[in-house]
Amino acid sequence: MSTNIRPLLSALRRNPTGALLVAVQVAITLAVLVNAAWIVAQRIEKIEQPTGIDTRDTFEIDILGLSKRFEVAQAESEDLAYLRGLPGVVTATATLGTPLTLNGGDTDLARSPGTDAPSLPANFLEVGDQGLRALEVPLVAGRNFRAGEIRPAGKHTPISEVIITRSLARALFAHGNALGQAVYEDNNDPLTIIGITRDFMGPQLGAPAYNTVLLPEMPGEGGFYGLLVRARPGMRATVLREAKEHIGASHRHAVIAETMTLTSAKRQFEANNRNMAIFLTSVTALMVAVCCLGIFGLTTFNVSSRTRQIGTRRALGARKRDVVRHFMLENSLILAAGALPGAVLALAVGNWLTARYGLPRLDLAYLAGGIVVLWGTGLLAAWQPARRAAGIPPSVATRTI
């Protein structure tokens, strides 16, 4: 088989346009296929991973001030006092950022200051000292925020302590204990890690699912804050109804912007990931199909334009399977010519996704799998026209037209 490669290559070199276009198509498709498959795998993993928080008993009410007369700090304080005194409530905290949703923020944390320092993306939640309890997330090391460490709403005093998840701690300090270490957001002052929690999913923005950092801060920027409430088992619906009625009526210059149970947030989170996986799978399948159409089209064209040549080969002794093999080998070479730059492109895109969106580094098994899938479907696309070529009778060689 290998002995047939040289004349095939030299023939392709002399007539490269069609093959080159298909090879470029293969390269782009491979890069998309591999990275899309990797992203889909991450999305599916996210759906299957435990959230690490109490979604069954927890809900959030978001308050939005409508005028400058809305006293955020005072309103927050009153709301929390009311909620904590409500029968059926375990605890409540003010928060900016809703776990499992796109409400919140993300940041980059580094082990040293400066914009050039290598950093890791992390999603953050602003919470009070009852944050961990409201989420029912236990500490695995260190301590919780103290009341005095929480920055009041509307103040701009520096924050100097943070609590992070175990995954983030391991990612930041792979070879040592993160507790007591300092991390940095750009050029800001050091943030000391005072506690490490069991892994849980904060807001799901650009960072990996479990890369969460808790900031000791009462939100209120722009007159907006959230109230995260954990009810006693079975009491959530009642508590939510009562809280909504009371808070809705108690603020003259604010409204309830949104209420959401974390059960529905989780459902939405799963749906988002599932939809993204379906979308990426569909788009990728479409790209693979278009690529296969290109291969099919090129092979069909080659068969049509080489009818006499195929007849001549048959007359000179080629068996039907030799003709099929000829076209399969030719397409293998085109696929290889596309797969090689495609693999480099896939790795480059993977690296960019890692650097830009904190996606885990591309698993090379996905690259190998992508090559096998594209190779297989590509050859499948060439199979039918190759079989048709094999059906060309050798007597065609004697026809003068």
């Binding site: 002995t3 001549t312 080969r313 048959r314 000179l316 002794g317 050798p394 004697t398 003068t400």
Partner: protein, 240 residues
Amino acid sequence: MLRMQDISKIYRTDLIETHALRDFSLRVGQGEFVAVSGPSGSGKTTFLTIAGLLENFDTGTYELDGRDVSRLTDDGRSRIRNEKIGFIFQGFNLIPDLDLFDNVDVPLRYRRMKADERRKRIESALDLVGLASRMKHLPSQLSGGQQQRVAIARAIAGDPALILADEPTGNLDSLMARQIMDLLEKINDMGTTIVLVTHDPELARRAQRNIHIVDGLVIDSPPYEARESQRAARAGTSPD
């Protein structure tokens, strides 16, 4: 070498049947140079396609080089074509994207021959047709006569027992046609049997034996035994 007995070939469409060959019988001996001629539509090309195992026939028997090839499988026919028959076509049928070396190499590759042996045969065949120095050229860089010489090199490289030439000079001017015929005679003198299909009486006269076909029937075929005397006549000596 070639023995056809009562071969019939009918082409059928929805409306008509065309009897291309009727009870066609022919015997060609080892080392003969036979010309098959006849008017257009007489069945010359059908004879060639059947003799070359390019098509099946409906009735009759066909022996090639002592072997009954009437009922071979497709693969079996391919193998016989590859090993026993060399084809020379009117339109040369060279593969335009391959250089001369690779063109001559095509049938040898299908024979799964080793690279060294192939190279030796290709160089020798191209040398015989006077194109050894141009083996890296493409067919498009050659004249028609040169292309036909490459096709002849391709036909003889596999050392076939029989060469079937289908109007090999049909696309050439008279000078080139003579050169091609000289070459075919040279190859025949080396012992290879040649069957030349042509409508040109002048070319046919250069063969040792002429077979005339009309309406799929052999109407004039000097006996096979006349071969030796014709050969002697061409050499200018008495057969006795």
